[in-house]
C-alpha cells in the first residue's frame, strides 16, 4: 500500500516534442492517497493507458517524476516497484495449474513453500476459486482467468498498488456484474491502493472512491462520483458522465439570471460580467417538462428505458434531453421545460465558473 505522487509528470512518444500537441500526457501534479480506489476514466486515446503504464513502470516518462511513498521510482523497473497489473485480456500461464499460477510470483522471490501454500489458499478463497486450484488454467472461462490474474496480483502481501487496464472488456455482460462487486468487496476488505482504467462510466463510478476524468492527455477533474455528477468542472465531464450526458446551452449571464434567446433561467449564484464562450449546463435529471411555465421546447422522441423515460427535445434549435420518471405520462401539451436552479452550472470556455453567493 503506498501513496503515489506525480511530480511535473508528462510524456511524449516523440523524441523531440515541440508543442503541447506532441504530448500524449500533459503536465500532471497530483497526490493519490494510500489505500484508495481510483478510476481513470476517459475516451480512447485520452492518455489513461499511458498514465497507467508509467505508474506500473512499463513505460518511462519523458518528463517529470513519479514517487511511491515519497521514494523516486521514475526509473525503477516494474519488478522493483512492487505493483500488480491486470490486463485487458486474461494473462495466465496456460501450462500451469491454478495453484501454480497463483504461487508463481512468490516462487520467483524465493519464499518458503509453507508460506506460499498458505497464501495461495488464502487468495483462492478471496477470489472464490478454491475448488479449481488443481485444474489447469488452459481450459477455464475468461472470467475465471481474469480472477486468476487478479489473484496473482494480490498474492504478494507487500504489493504497493493494484492496476487494472480495462479488465472487464472480454467478460460476458452478466459476469461483469459479479466481478465488479467482487473487486469492490476486496477493496473494502484489504484496502489496497487500486487504480482502474476504463472508458465505461458505470464501471468507473461504481468501482472508485475517486474518479479521475481525463480528456486529451489532461486530468480534467478528480472527485467522488457524486461531485462529478452534481458539479462537473468541465463540460467534458458533464458530457461523459451521465447517460445521457449534461445539456450544454449557450446563454448570456446577467447577475443571477441566464438569458437564453429571451427566456430567463434562475441561477444558484450571481455572476459579474463574463468573457468568452458562456454556457449553462444542466443534467437531464434536473430538467422537468411542464405544461405552462419555462422555456419552450418541441418534443421529438420519447424513449422508454424501463426505469425512466428519456425525452429528446429541441430547444431553440439545439438538442436537449430530459429524464422523466417511469410513471410520468408525457402529454403533447407539455411544451415547456424548467430547470432545477440548484443544479444549473455556469461554464466559461468549457470550465466551470463559481459565482458569488447572492
Amino acid at each position: 500500500m503506498a501513496k503515489i505522487t506525480l511530480d511535473n509528470l508528462a510524456h511524449s512518444y516523440l523524441p523531440s516534442p515541440k508543442g503541447e500537441d506532441d504530448f500524449a500526457l500533459k503536465e500532471l501534479n497530483h497526490d493519490w492517497a494510500d489505500g484508495e480506489a481510483y478510476a481513470l476514466l476517459g475516451a480512447s486515446g485520452c492518455g489513461k493507458s499511458t498514465l497507467l503504464n508509467i505508474i506500473s513502470g512499463l513505460l518511462h516518462p519523458s518528463q517529470g517524476r513519479i514517487l511511491f511513498d515519497d521514494v523516486d521510482v521514475t526509473h525503477a523497473s516494474t519488478a522493483d516497484r512492487n505493483i500488480a497489473q491486470v490486463f485487458q485480456f486474461p494473462v495466465v500461464y496456460d501450462t500451469m495449474t491454478v495453484r501454480d499460477n497463483l504461487a508463481f510470483p512468490l516462487k520467483n522471490r524465493g519464499a518458503r513453500p509453507q508460506y506460499i501454500a498458505d497464501r495461495v489458499q488464502q487468495i483462492a478463497q478471496m477470489i472464490g476459486m478454491e475448488a479449481e486450484l488443481g485444474k489447469r488454467a488452459r481450459g477455464l472461462t475468461a472470467d475465471a482467468k481474469q480472477k486468476i490474474s487478479l489473484g496473482r496480483g494480490m498474492v504478494r502481501e507487500d504489493v504497493n498498488a493494484l492496476l487494472f487496464d480495462e479488465p472487464l472488456t472480454v467478460i460476458d455482460p452478466h459476469m461483469k456484474w459479479e466481478l465488479r462487486t467482487q473487486l469492490k468487496s476486496l477493496h473494502h476488505e484489504f484496502g489496497h491502493t487500486m487504480i482502474y482504467v476504463t472508458h465505461d462510466q458505470t464501471e468507473a463510478l461504481t468501482f472508485a472512491d475517486k474518479v479521475v476524468v481525463m480528456y486529451d492527455g489532461r486530468v480534467v477533474q478528480i472527485g467522488t462520483p457524486q461531485e462529478l455528477f452534481e458539479r462537473p468542472e468541465h463540460t467534458f465531464v458533464g458530457y461523459f458522465i451521465g447517460s445521457p450526458g449534461m445539456n450544454v446551452i449557450p446563454a448570456a449571464i446577467d447577475g443571477q439570471m441566464a438569458n437564453i434567446h429571451g427566456a430567463t433561467v434562475a441561477l444558484p449564484q450571481a455572476y459579474d460580467a463574463l468573457d468568452g464562450k458562456v454556457e449553462i449546463g444542466v443534467r437531464p435529471e434536473f430538467v422537468t417538462l411542464t405544461e405552462g411555465e419555462g422555456l419552450p421546447v418541441k418534443v421529438r422522441r420519447v424513449e422508454d428505458v424501463g426505469r425512466h423515460k428519456i425525452v429528446r427535445a429541441d430547444l431553440f434549435g439545439s438538442e436537449i434531453n430530459i429524464v422523466a420518471g417511469e410513471d410520468t405520462s408525457i402529454s403533447p401539451d407539455m411544451t415547456r421545460v424548467t430547470f432545477d436552479p440548484a443544479h444549473v452550472n455556469v461554464y466559461v470556455n468549457d470550465w466551470r465558473r463559481a459565482g458569488k453567493a447572492a
Binding site: 490486463f87 494473462v91 500451469m96 496473482r152
Partner: protein, 289 residues
C-alpha cells in the same frame, strides 16, 4: 459455422486429381506391381507374393541403413530444433534489422540441394577446400573421404547449415504472435528469463514447433542429394542412408523386385511416423481448448 454445400466445387478439383493420378498414383501402383513379382529377364514376370518383403526384412544391409538413418534423423532433430528456437529468440522483433535478418536466414533455404552438396564437398576438401585446408593447417586430421567420423560430421554440419533456418523462421513466426501483455505480466511477476521461456514462449510456440519437427523429420528421413554428392554413401557404406541404399539397389543393381518392396516399406514407415505425429499434434491442440 457451416458453409452452404456447393457440389460444383468438385469440378475445380478434378484437374488436380487427374494430374496427381497420372504423376503419382499410377507410378506408385507400378512399384507395388514390381514388389510382388520377379523376372528372369525379357519382360517375363511371375508372381512371388510377399517374398521380396520377407527378404528385405532379413537383409542386414537394409537394417544397417535404417539404423544409420535413424541416428542421422535423431541427431539432426536434436541439433536443429533447439538451435532454431535459440536463433528465433534472439532475432529482433521490430525495427530495421528485422528484414535483414529474415533475408539472411532465408538464403540457405533457397539454394538447390545438389548445389548445397557440391558446396560442402569442395569446402571440406583438404587440398582446395577452405574448411578442409584450414583444419589440416591447424593439425586436425580431417578427411571425409576416408574417415567415417569426419564424413558424418560433414554431412550433419551441412544439413544444419542448410535447414536450421526453416526451424528458426517457423519458431520466429510463432514467437511474434505472442501478445506483449504476457511479457509485461512476467516482468511484474519477476519471472526469470528461463521461466518466461518455459511458461510463455514454449507453450505458445508448441503448435508451430510440432510442424517444424514433422517437416524436418520427414525431410531428413528421406535425405538423398546432399550426402550423396558429398560422400556418395562412403567411405564404404558408413554414410549410406536408406534412400541411397535404395537407389543403389534399384538403379545400380537393377534389382527391381527388392527395390520396389523396399520402397513400399520405406513409404509406409514415413506414413506411419507422420500419422503418429499428426495425432499427437491434434491431441495437444484439443487439450489446449
Amino acid at each position: 459455422m457451416e458453409k452452404t454445400v456447393n457440389q460444383k466445387a468438385w469440378f475445380l478439383v478434378l484437374p488436380v486429381l487427374v494430374l496427381v493420378a497420372f504423376s503419382a498414383v499410377i507410378p506408385l501402383m507400378t512399384v507395388v506391381n514390381y514388389s510382388v513379382q520377379d523376372t528372369f529377364g525379357n519382360n517375363q514376370f511371375f508372381w512371388t507374393g510377399l517374398e521380396w518383403f520377407e527378404e528385405m526384412l532379413r537383409d542386414d544391409r537394409m537394417w544397417d541403413a535404417l539404423g544409420r538413418q535413424l541416428m542421422f534423423s535423431g541427431i539432426i532433430l536434436l541439433i536443429q530444433i533447439p538451435l532454431g528456437v535459440f536463433i528465433a529468440l534472439n532475432m529482433p522483433k521490430s525495427g530495421f534489422w528485422v528484414s535483414f535478418c529474415l533475408v539472411v536466414m532465408s538464403l540457405p533455404l533457397l539454394i538447390p540441394w545438389n548445389v548445397v552438396g557440391t558446396i560442402w564437398q569442395i569446402f571440406g576438401r583438404v587440398d582446395i577446400g577452405l574448411l578442409g585446408h584450414t583444419l589440416a593447417a591447424i593439425g586436425v586430421d580431417y578427411n571425409y573421404t576416408s574417415d567415417p567420423f569426419a564424413a558424418w560430421v560433414t554431412i550433419i554440419v551441412m544439413d544444419v547449415w542448410h535447414w536450421t533456418s526453416l526451424v528458426a523462421l517457423l519458431a520466429y513466426a510463432g514467437l511474434k504472435s505472442i501478445p506483449d501483455a504476457y511479457y509485461q505480466a512476467a516482468k511484474i511477476d519477476q519471472a526469470s528469463r528461463w521461466a518466461v521461456f518455459r511458461y510463455i514462449e514454449l507453450p505458445k510456440m508448441m503448435g508451430v514447433l510440432m510442424i517444424a519437427i514433422l517437416l524436418r523429420f520427414m525431410d531428413s528421413f528421406m535425405i538423398y542429394t546432399e550426402p550423396f554428392v558429398v560422400t556418395g554413401g562412403g567411405p564404404g557404406s558408413t554414410t549410406t542412408m536408406l534412400s541411397i541404399d535404395l537407389v543403389k539397389m534399384a538403379l545400380g543393381q537393377f534389382d527391381l523386385g527388392p527395390a520396389a518392396a523396399f520402397s513400399i516399406m520405406y513409404f509406409l514407415t514415413i506414413l506411419l511416423i507422420s500419422w503418429v505425429f499428426y495425432t499427437v499434434m491434434t491431441n495437444l491442440e484439443k487439450r489446449e481448448g
